[in-house]
Symmetry: C3
Subunit: 373 residues, 3 copies
């Protein structure tokens, strides 16, 4: 190309090229196409943008910190323990863990002697039936290697080394701390959406000192995260007294569904409560919730012994999740773009109707497609 050619090319770059259309005066297909267009528009505006907020970039990754504090005091008088008073330092184990609040009710409290030898389960006829050091399956001791026989019986039982007296296999009939129903738990949750640099807590930021001392959580007091234990359990669909005797785990879900295009005050926590251990308590090993721990003492001679505690209790697991959305150009354009592409698909569909399903389709085909040579 010469100089003129290049100039022409440059000029032609700024010519506007527009697709040539054929107007088919066919009202049926015309109306069909308008219906398709309106449907897509309605879907895009109504569903994608208004309902699903498709113009927002959303993020579900949330940073969360939880502080819990139980409050309450209870008195028990049982034959095993005598008179006893339980306050926070006694029934919260371990003292502080994030995302947890736990109170236990020791059912079985026995001071067991140092490990000594006792007799148990396994049957034997000679010492070789009791290999020394072998653990008793699901038991609390190891075999010593001796077979103990009473009198002249040919069968005896293996001698077991265990903490004595051995723990009784029994379940509590009634909850020890029945009044724990009136305890309260304070759950402070600070969250942050790192993507949007947005932070909030679930506690009212108030100067009024007495507010948090007297309020209780309810729909009206959303920012007073002080829960009555009995209500927590009933909101999870259970009866406190039933649950307390077997122990259990209550999940406290805090959901933060935040539209950050609105004011920060519109971003509120939403609580829900559910029971996480197996409800069919009688049937399954996985029901209820209990664990054992020990306190250690030394007597005057310095000999160590321990008090084994089998604690039935209710653990409150605080689970926090959230979703934040904020206007962002990329998802907006992706959604608009895919809607427009869909319009093209609608036109293709109407073309098929016009060119193949109409009476005069041959005629329209000839007009639409201009054959070359």
């Amino acid at each position: 190309m010469g100089q003129v050619g290049w100039k022409g090319l440059c000029l032609s770059l700024f010519d506007y090229k527009t697709e040539k259309y054929v107007i088919a005066k066919n009202k049926k297909v015309g109306i069909l196409y308008r219906v398709v267009q309106l449907s897509i528009l309605a879907y895009l505006v109504g569903w994608v943008f208004v309902v699903k907020k498709g113009y927002q970039d959303s993020d579900t990754s949330i940073q969360s910190s939880v502080i819990t504090k139980l409050k309450g005091v209870a008195f028990t008088n049982t034959s095993e323990l005598g008179e006893r008073l339980w306050d926070v330092a006694d029934y919260v184990i371990p003292p502080q863990v994030s995302h947890h609040a736990f109170y236990h009710m020791p059912y079985l409290l026995q001071s067991s002697a140092l490990q000594s030898t006792g007799i148990r389960d396994a049957l034997c006829s000679k010492n070789r039936d009791c290999p020394a050091g072998e653990a008793v399956i699901a038991g609390n001791g190891v075999k010593t290697g001796r077979c103990l026989k009473v009198g002249s019986n040919t069968n005896g039982t293996c001698e077991i080394l265990a903490w004595c007296p051995v723990e009784k296999k029994s379940k509590p009939k009634k909850p020890l701390l029945a009044t724990a129903e009136n305890f309260t738990v304070y759950i402070k949750n600070s969250i942050r959406f790192p993507k949007f640099k947005f932070s909030k807590t679930n506690v009212l930021n108030t100067d009024n000192d007495s507010y948090l001392k007297h309020c209780h959580y309810s729909a009206q007091h959303l920012y007073c995260p002080i829960f009555h234990l009995g209500k927590l359990v009933s909101w999870a669909g259970n009866n406190f007294q039933d649950m307390a005797s077997e122990g259990g785990v209550i999940g406290i879900q805090i959901e933060w569904d935040c539209d950050l295009d609105k004011a920060a005050s519109e971003c509120n926590p939403h609580y829900s409560f559910s029971r996480l251990d197996n409800k069919f308590a009688e049937k399954s090993i996985s029901s209820g919730y209990n664990f054992r721990f020990a306190k250690y003492y030394r007597d005057a001679e310095g000999v160590e012994y321990r008090t084994l505690i089998k604690a039935y209790g209710i653990r409150f697991d605080v689970m926090v999740n959230g979703k934040a959305g904020k206007f962002n150009i990329i998802p907006t354009i992706i959604n608009v773009g895919s809607g427009l592409a869909l319009m093209g698909a609608g036109a293709f569909f109407c073309d098929v109707v016009l060119l193949y399903l109409m009476k005069k389709s041959n005629f329209y085909r000839g007009k639409k497609y201009e054959e070359v040579k």
Copy 2:
């Protein structure tokens, strides 16, 4: 159709159909269209692909494990406790929990007798005013059912069963372990992005034994996660001595923002620090951080008593989140596709200008739209 018809159809399948365009030699609209095209291209390449890495599939779901270890020793000499030395085993409660490091400074250490009866708060005039077993609200005991009167007064106070002596309601004036400022905490964090099967830790993988013994975290020593407590608190915008007396919770956020199309060594942790409990310490019940726990003893006669500890301390919550991105064909095509669809919208906009806003728009309309019959 006959055989010829089918053959023709088959052949015509491989005819190439291309849209017919009308060239409008209108420089204004032509330049407008080029500007629109270039804008979309610049947005697509510059913003979507270069800045926002729209060619990557990203994931924010991260598996994280944290190991923490405090180090330091402090000496105190107070009237209540006498001379006392505090090392890790004394001030870390509970000994080990993932995503936490906690050191406590016991402010109130009182050996309280077994539960005994004392006199407190509630006013009464007869025994019926003190229902037995009723807990004293926000108190530490339960009523015994007796109303104690001094001399011939008509009013007295209910007898309360509590751990005695009862805890004093007071706040510490100065932090007990002021030298805790010089303690260090080691925070090891192992992460994994399960979607991309990528793992990393925040500790330098070195043969040099002495490196981790002497280094401290700084921008230069990003892979030495050993933090000086005083600096941690000051990075969170607080003064250690102020904070230590009331207790508090410091959030340590570790963010992993990884571009997995680059080398693994480019994927570095980013630390940030913030205070999670309420800063307005004087004003609110939710300020500071403390909890109570107890140690149990038996005296020579086997009678149990306890030492109640109200511990003020600083809890360090390690919160890990991350985002990993890697090239993936699907988001790439979605972004390119939505960009192309946008080009179509641009053409539609220019059409409107050409066909309805230009002087010669009638002429162009007639050319673009070919009326049939």
Copy 3:
């Protein structure tokens, strides 16, 4: 416009406008275009929809609650401790934490006297070299301010206030609880995808009481989350006896990859195991896992002393993550839309071939672009 004009406009709204095409009887480009179309269709259907399930809305935000329980008993007979029996209450510290199961093997158990004065490390020639209250770096005590000299030496060592006797710097040669290999750990995990309101646990919901008492986890018993410690460690690629002597952290990853368009029974947990502390145990300070804690006693005179325990043990970190997908119209349309837009790009590419690279491209250009005036 008059009344007729408006009526005409209204009617013309329902005229169907369809793009005019030029048929280029060029088989090469025709076949090229069909190949491009088929490739895009194959990618869209095969990769995006079948393999990547592009028709689903997916979510990786998961709510998870974990309950762990260790089981087993072991017997040790060492010179330091004498005969000793270890059951759950003895070796699990702290007793219960979600997402954790930990058993420790105390290596170093020393009853240290109350803090008293001893001699250590730091060299000095006069008292001023030993500032009172200064902590000994990485040590266990603080300086008292006195420089102790033996006889007439000019150099001595600073006097240190510490828990005495001071802890020996030594590592265990062999694991104390070698038989811990046979312990079992029960890990119950309840998950919930809040976006889809879908919940599941990893424990078989059975009436058969004995199932969970006797089963062990394996590929056949996916819903029996009872793990043999030795196997857990070997699945993580380590030898239990090697690991147990130094301590360590084992990560148990539970992945829930759920297609919620299928039955709930198709949504199964997938376990994987890895070691999270540094494997190169000899080389690095960050290897192994141990911590110190103390038990406190009072002797007959009420003087407090403590037993310091340096515990080597294995911590099991349960990390849960998941992904759920369910049919949703929005991602479906985005993927279809971007595929269609790609078709347009394919047509543009074929146009370039036809209009610029073919022999008769001049002719085709003239036909495609109709010049106006």
